[in-house]
């Protein structure tokens, strides 16, 4: 049949518009980023020239690089377990038919659909010294408060709270979907066996949620690299880079300091982390899902 004979041609024709754009904005730039990172920064007097691994050596000697790397680690540790735990709690609360489940679900989920910029604007007023809501609540009852966003020891923590607030409701959705797919007979069986609610959660529900947790975990790690919008409003990475993250540092290096090769070297490091994440996803996660 003519149709079948042409299936290779038709297949490639159908995917070509999407494929061309994807190559242009994903694969091609990934390769050129790597080449760009092997050159020096040019200026009118000295044009850019090949320097091999020099940008990467400079990176190792750059204290700011190590600071943002460390910050990214704290940011991930600070946001991921807390938002996953909250997400599971929220999903369990919403899954049973409590009074006003519709409202509860709405309240938990709403932060998810707000832009991070809008969220940061709202939270800015909570964190502002003296006139901010946090200080107005805590100072009268005798609690000394730091300058939340201005103090290096609390700036990143302040960003972490916002991210938890924004992400928990989003992850709740995936747990809710998993809980609703769970067979009700399991619960009945456990009831007959006299298992307490906590035992049931620990021995039955939580293990069954494992594939969801792995899926959420990968997305949460991905977000911990990608979510930098609130930094623009709240701290600009400061004070003294105490709240800067890798992607924000890349942006600053490229668009404030105009050092493209160095920004490229930083991007390659970020790609390396994402590559490891992808390997974990396809190694562990996919196997778990087939297992299910």
């Amino acid at each position: 049949m003519n149709f079948m004979g042409n299936r290779h041609v038709i297949g490639w024709l159908l995917i070509s518009p999407a494929a061309i754009l994807l190559v242009t904005f994903t694969h091609y730039p990934a390769v050129t980023t790597f080449f760009s990172s092997l050159f020096s920064r040019g200026n009118p007097i000295r044009p850019s020239k090949f320097v091999g691994a020099d940008q990467y050596l400079a990176l190792l000697d750059d204290p700011v690089f190590w600071t943002v790397l460390e910050n990214n680690l704290y940011y991930a540790i600070g946001t991921i377990p807390a938002s996953i735990a909250l997400a599971i709690a929220m999903a369990l609360l919403v899954d049973r038919a409590l009074a006003g489940t519709g409202f509860l679900r709405l309240a938990y989920f709403t932060p998810t659909i707000l832009p991070m910029i809008a969220v940061a604007n709202i939270w800015l007023f909570f964190y502002t010294p003296e006139i901010g809501l946090l200080d107005r609540l805590l100072n009268p009852i005798g609690i000394e408060t730091p300058n939340w966003l201005g103090d290096p020891s609390t700036a990143l923590l302040s960003l972490i709270f916002i991210t938890i607030w924004k992400e928990a409701g989003f992850f709740m959705i995936f747990y809710l979907a998993a809980l609703q797919a769970q067979s009700p007979e399991l619960k009945e069986a456990a009831k007959l066996e006299g298992a307490s609610a906590f035992t049931f959660f620990r021995r039955v529900t939580f293990p069954l949620l494992m594939p969801t947790t792995l899926f959420v975990l990968v997305n949460a790690v991905l977000n911990s690299f990608k979510l930098v919008d609130h930094i623009f409003i709240l701290t600009k990475g400061g004070p003294d880079n105490a709240s800067s993250l890798i992607l924000y540092y890349i942006y600053e290096t490229a668009f404030s300091f105009f050092d493209t090769p160095y920004a490229s070297a930083l991007t390659i490091i970020l790609l390396l982390f994402l590559g490891i994440l992808a390997l974990i996803q396809f190694g562990v996660l996919e196997r778990r899902i087939h297992y299910r």
Partner: protein, 273 residues
């Protein structure tokens, strides 16, 4: 179990769930409250202060919010149309044409799930500038027009369409695109809805890439306009910033409140692999 104890536990759960919900929604409620009060009253948290719409008028006059709103609207709708057309064609090929190299091509496309255009911001900006698309809505949208996520979702849906429908349509004299349009697209409507809602809310909220590409009032989407407006160094009153923030999120928030169930179901569908 003791029935009164079980009753008590249920009551504690309900109270806990509601406290958490109120805590979660309170930042937004507080922004509402501040936006409808005079700046001095908002700072002193005077609950009896009179309501006012002045902050909205002020924000509307101080920055070109109608233009930002139009930009975001054009960006989000144009992008969604492009995404749906490109994803539909590609997903159809991956689902039904067992073409040579298709498996590898599909894996390469999935790379975009992890490496989104804003990660490669430096080189992508250079490409957009080379194409002469810097500071244009097309330049903001183009890198996202081919969506791996959309292709993935639609491929799953198309694969579940019975082959007999294909054959029947071919008997009726439909060509390749005719079958796609008459058979596959109508059957995939729930997937289009789910994908559409996720895409709209994602691109309504996107910030970093539009910030880099846009450089004028005519191209700036709401998020970028709002970031400039609300920056602390601009010294704008907090009530006015609240009003501007609410104006920026209002269309999306209202749509969400109206179509709550569809939104939540769409996000659920987006997580099921």
């Amino acid at each position: 179990m003791n029935p009164s104890l079980s009753y008590l536990r249920k009551a504690v759960t309900v109270v806990g769930a509601w406290l958490l919900a109120i805590l979660w929604i309170s930042p937004l409620l507080f922004a509402f409250w501040a936006a409808f009060h005079n700046p001095e009253d908002a700072i002193h948290f005077d609950l009896t202060a009179p309501l006012t719409l002045g902050n909205f008028v002020e924000a509307w006059n101080q920055a070109p919010f109608p233009r930002y709103m139009l930009n975001t609207f054009l960006l989000v709708t144009g992008l969604l149309a492009a995404q749906m057309i490109l994803a539909t064609l590609a997903a159809y090929a991956f689902a039904r044409f067992n073409f040579v190299g298709g498996g590898i091509a599909f894996s390469l496309i999935l790379v975009q799930l992890m490496i989104t255009p804003e990660i490669l911001i430096v080189e992508n900006y250079a490409t957009i500038a080379d194409l002469g698309l810097a500071d244009s809505l097309t330049g903001i949208g183009l890198p996202y027009a081919a969506s791996a996520f959309g292709i993935f979702l639609l491929r799953q849906t198309f694969k579940s369409v019975p082959r007999e429908l294909d054959d029947a349509a071919r008997m009726e004299g439909c060509g390749t695109l005719g079958i796609l349009w008459r058979v596959y697209v109508p059957l995939a409507m729930p997937t289009y809805l789910a994908y559409g809602l996720v895409s709209i809310s994602h691109h309504w909220n996107n910030f970093l890439w539009p910030l880099v590409v846009s450089n004028s009032v005519e191209t700036r989407p709401l998020t970028v306009g709002l970031a400039i407006f609300g920056a602390p160094e601009s010294g704008v009153d907090w009530s006015i910033v609240s009003a501007a923030t609410l104006m920026s999120v209002a269309p999306l928030l209202i749509a969400f409140l109206l179509f709550q169930r569809q939104f939540i179901r769409s996000f659920m569908a987006s997580g099921i692999k």
